[in-house]
Amino acid sequence: MDKNKIQEELKNIIAIYVPEKEILDNLTLEHDLINDLKINSAHIVDIVLDVEEKYDIMIEDDVIMQMGTIGQAIDVIHGKVQEK
């Protein structure tokens, strides 16, 4: 699966948890979910659930720690989808 497509889909998934939507217009791979996008840390688990449902994958708790930035999250999703 194309990483650009995942990025677009991930953007749609996280949008609802981002308090200031303007930042989504210029979303980069380097954006940190908590520090840059200001997503409440409690919502990371909600985003993981939404991602698991969307791609029919399982993301283990230790892997969640590796999803700090948009780029890292895309890599995790991409890897899991490939493994399927």
Partner: protein, 426 residues
């Protein structure tokens, strides 16, 4: 001691027969019923298969909710409370900002069995089936008894006391009493007060098991709730939320706010499960004590009362309630004021009842009418033995209401009574 005067400057409501205060006014006047049949209740073998719940639309939610609240708030008790609360705040002419906190404002938003809303079914089934990992972060915030206040305050940013009371069917009136006392003591300038109840098969089924709901109207839902009627059989479970902005008179006047009414007095007590009081029935002595205390505090005599907003659920206790009102007011038959309840239209909204009915009372005071007590074919003779028939309007009548008294009674032998006076400009 600080002894501020306290007024009401904003109202909001989500009721089974109307969304928002403007529509609620129309619904009360025309006697619109919010009671409907539910197939699910039938398939689950409930005796009472009718109930009253607000019909929330996405369009109505979009008026007050951002996309997160629109999509991720699931618990109906919280949704109702947020809609009513935001409406009341806006109605009072107040605003909020995302980066400021208001330490002069607080809230008391109560609930009854918030965690029994039918939307919690998904939570329990995931846990029972070993999939708790799939719950996400919202299960606890949307089941905790303070959930409604928490979600309201996430948006409003109030920094004073934020409290969630829970006292069954007096929760709504008690929320106003708690805000009133806090403001009287000068501990805040504004308090958003209200209450909420969710709905669905868990709450309805559990009340149904107590054999206190109407069971003869499954095919005639709008006729199911018959307070004061000789043929009444029980109450109809309802849900929804009412909210009011309480404010010190000084604060309201300094910002030129529209004032609906002044709270003149309020009392809450318990019958202590003594003298006939029980889990489900009130101790009449305590009821009368509570009503009298609120009148005494208000310095209002019974001949000044223009309207009683009763509890009057449609159970056998209605006739006892009338007797208690008469004793508390200490009046003769002819001196008894008009009395009504919205429950024929909206059922008994449990913890939401007090706040929704207070909003109804404020609307009637503002617009000078007394809504009808619908569904009465023949008034219970035990009631007409106490008061003249014409004190129970069966359709809406125009009337100036300067002073009103409102009471609710609750499981756990709890009583709450509030005296309101319409605000006269100048």
């Amino acid at each position: 001691m600080i002894n501020n005067r306290v007024v009401i400057t904003g109202i909001g409501v989500v009721a089974p027969n109307a969304l928002g205060a403007a529509d609620f006014e129309v619904a009360l006047k025309e006697g619109r019923s919010g009671i409907r049949f539910f197939e699910e209740s039938q398939s689950l073998n409930f005796r009472c298969q009718i109930a009253a719940r607000p019909l929330i639309t996405d369009a109505y939610k979009a008026r007050y909710f951002d996309d997160y609240y629109q999509n991720k708030l699931e618990n109906k008790a919280i949704i109702y409370a947020c809609l009513a609360g935001f409406e009341a705040w806006e109605n009072a002419g107040l605003s909020y900002s995302n980066d400021q906190i208001d330490f002069d404002s607080g809230m008391v938003i109560g609930s009854g069995a918030l965690g029994m809303d039918s939307t919690t079914a998904d939570i329990w089934s995931k846990i029972i089936s070993g999939n708790n990992k799939r719950l996400g972060s919202r299960a606890i915030p949307q089941c905790m008894s303070s959930g409604a206040a928490a979600y309201l305050n996430k948006i409003l940013g109030l920094g004073n006391r934020v409290l969630s009371n829970s006292s069954a069917c007096i929760t709504g009136t008690e929320s106003v009493l708690l805000g009133y006392e806090h403001l009287k003591l000068g501990k805040a300038k504004r308090m958003l007060c209200g209450s909420t109840e969710g709905d669905g098969i868990f709450i309805w089924g559990a009340f149904d098991a107590m054999r206190i709901l109407t069971s003869d109207s499954n095919e005639d839902p709008t006729n199911g709730s018959r307070p004061m009627c000789n043929s009444r059989l029980g109450f109809i479970p309802g849900s929804g939320s009412g909210a009011m902005v309480l404010e010190t008179l000084e604060s309201a006047q300094s910002r030129g706010a529209k004032i609906y009414a002044e709270i003149l007095g309020a009392d809450v007590n318990s019958g202590g499960f003594r003298d006939g009081g029980s889990m489900t029935a009130p101790n009449s002595n305590a009821v009368i004590h509570c009503m009298k205390n609120s009148l005494h505090q208000a310095k209002v005599s019974s001949d000044e009362i223009d309207l009683i907003s009763g509890h009057l659920t449609g159970t056998k206790g209605d006739s006892t309630e009338i007797k208690n009102w008469k004793k508390a007011l200490g009046c003769t038959q002819d001196q008894f004021p008009l009395i009504n309840t919205a429950k024929s239209m909206i059922g008994h909204c449990i913890a939401g009842a007090g706040s929704i009915e207070l909003v109804a009372t404020l609307i009637q005071m503002e617009k000078s009418f007394v809504h009808g007590n619908y569904n009465i074919k023949e008034v219970d003779p035990d009631i007409t033995a106490e008061i003249p028939l014409d004190r129970i309007p069966m359709k809406t009548v125009d009337k100036e209401i300067n002073t009103a008294i409102k009471a609710n009674f609750a499981f756990g032998d709890l009583n709450c009574s509030i005296v309101l006076r319409k605000w006269q400009d100048g």
